[in-house]
Symmetry: C2
Subunit: 383 residues, 2 copies
Amino acid sequence: MSVTAAKGFTAAGIAAGIKENGNPDLALVVNTGPRRAAAGVFTSNRVKAAPVLWSEQVLRGGEVSAVVLNSGGANACTGPKGFQDTHATAEKVADVLGHSAGEVAVASTGLIGVLLPMDKLLPGIEQAAAQLSEHGGEKAAIAIKTTDTVHKTAVVQKDGWTVGGMAKGAGMLAPGLATMLVVLTTDADLESAALDTALRDATRQTFDRVDSDGCMSTNDTVLLLASGASGITPGQAEFAEAVRAVCDDLARQLIGDAEGASKDIRIEVVGAATEDDAVEVGRSIARNNLLKCAIHGEDPNWGRVLSAIGTTRAAFEPDQLNVAINGIWVCKNGSVGEDRDLVDMRYREVRITADLAAGSESAVIWANDLTADYVHENSAYSS
Amino acid sequence: MSVTAAKGFTAAGIAAGIKENGNPDLALVVNTGPRRAAAGVFTSNRVKAAPVLWSEQVLRGGEVSAVVLNSGGANACTGPKGFQDTHATAEKVADVLGHSAGEVAVASTGLIGVLLPMDKLLPGIEQAAAQLSEHGGEKAAIAIKTTDTVHKTAVVQKDGWTVGGMAKGAGMLAPGLATMLVVLTTDADLESAALDTALRDATRQTFDRVDSDGCMSTNDTVLLLASGASGITPGQAEFAEAVRAVCDDLARQLIGDAEGASKDIRIEVVGAATEDDAVEVGRSIARNNLLKCAIHGEDPNWGRVLSAIGTTRAAFEPDQLNVAINGIWVCKNGSVGEDRDLVDMRYREVRITADLAAGSESAVIWANDLTADYVHENSAYSS
């Protein structure tokens, strides 16, 4: 279903030869209207890939008629030539579809610092355009995979309208946003401003709270396109909730497929004075390598949780901190709590609850453990 | 030589039985005067171990007559009982030596969240006191090891006066300070204020710029004791330089023995607008797990350096960044530079130079690679 679950969209995914192993590497998503409203959120990394710089410009216009995505190369840190290549890619899509290049968003993912093989990418666009279909969402989702072991899609169907989407991402996963490409589509009849509000709200609470390895990508892109093909204009709150549900689903799929991970860690910070405090503490716990190793070893090492909390600026008193791991309060009032041998950590999901005892705000951050497989996957070859 | 290289100090290191494996675990360092001036720098982690809270109080008095250090338990997150144990430890040392407990600093290292076996520690203090010797520095350095594979000592001898020291630390090594215990001694005849100025200056540029794994300890302690036994009062600049040299030597030894590491990474940030910018960028590079994996794999993956720089607030333009790895400028003006195949990464030391092209300030941060051995060492058992 993916990006073609909503009416008014076609998609395709093909192997253009960008990847040396011959796997699918080029996806095309086209909004067939009647409306072409769009919103986008991009990496907050200050070193931005050429397609991010390009697509940020496109989104300023508020209309996107097509998105072309490639895996097999990030086109990041590639200088003026890289930006020219992105521009040429958008022009090629516009030519083939009879659109304006200024309405074609581009997204790339793969190794940083390498130019894309344009002699393969441009013919690939013609090939993808020829295969555009209302059932092409699945193939598009497959074509944007890099080190992903599975493709990721999600759909929410409401009363006469739909929000669907696809995502890729498995490493360099840290907020602002996670290293990932996401395209969401809807046939709801909404203007770009309404899409933008819903998308920013959703990403702030979903993708921005995923932190697989603390490393922020240069290419993160989340796009939301509306075709208006359902003829229905849902209320903002209902629409925002549907977008958030799809984003939440995709964000969880990203964590579930993180490079080398053996555990998904749900870190819930409660009792915080502010939501910002809760997020800061959650992120500090999520990024603590020693804790990530301990979780991998199924060791409920709560001392490493406290040492991570202690590095933040959040409001708390050290002797009032409480920590539960999988429901067992192993740390109470900053000291030894229930018997750590009661903690059962055999399953993939591990739940850490950190109670700051400083207020009533909370936040959930999702993270992964740190494993020898992660080291291997990120040291044995360039990615 | 260690802490007894300077005149006016005795030390001992013994096995008190705190460690279950029977290795040495208790060290005592005594200032025999005539002066007992002292300065200390402690972890900036807000979750501080009981011995840190105690020793911070002691240092406020400006005089330290003895330091008792144990490995085998951090006495962190141990509540009121943990603090009582630290107090009892200082009282015991004071009793045995005929000093005041208010002048006895305490330092502990090991697992967080476990009470110390006081029935072994207190008799151990008597045993250590009986073995105090002007040649005991080496044994003291051995007794504070935890996962350290070697003990760490350093000495600078000047014209009639000396600065010496010992350090432990191999994991949870990140600034503010690194997870480590350091005791420095000098026979220079200086007041506490002069020691404090020299010590803060030295730690800021040495221990605070070591970042093995981004994890800040609850127990970091650096103490500088002056006996005045040389009768010589060096100039502040000369003294500060000697203290910095000893700290620099010990900091390098910490990095060289970091848990599971196969590479020592020297990250030099140049062309920064401010020293703070240089440190922020250096630390961001030092903590990037993907880059640390790439260095382990001897892959000069400069894209990961740029993606780390891009997450900082430092002054720079993305298209003016330059990066060299072991002297080869693999990234020029934010894009592909010299041939990455020219980079020789066979040796343990890897040098990364990041030129922000935004000014003339610089800083050096030392880090380690991320290895499967690190994961194993920190997941296979609690530490």
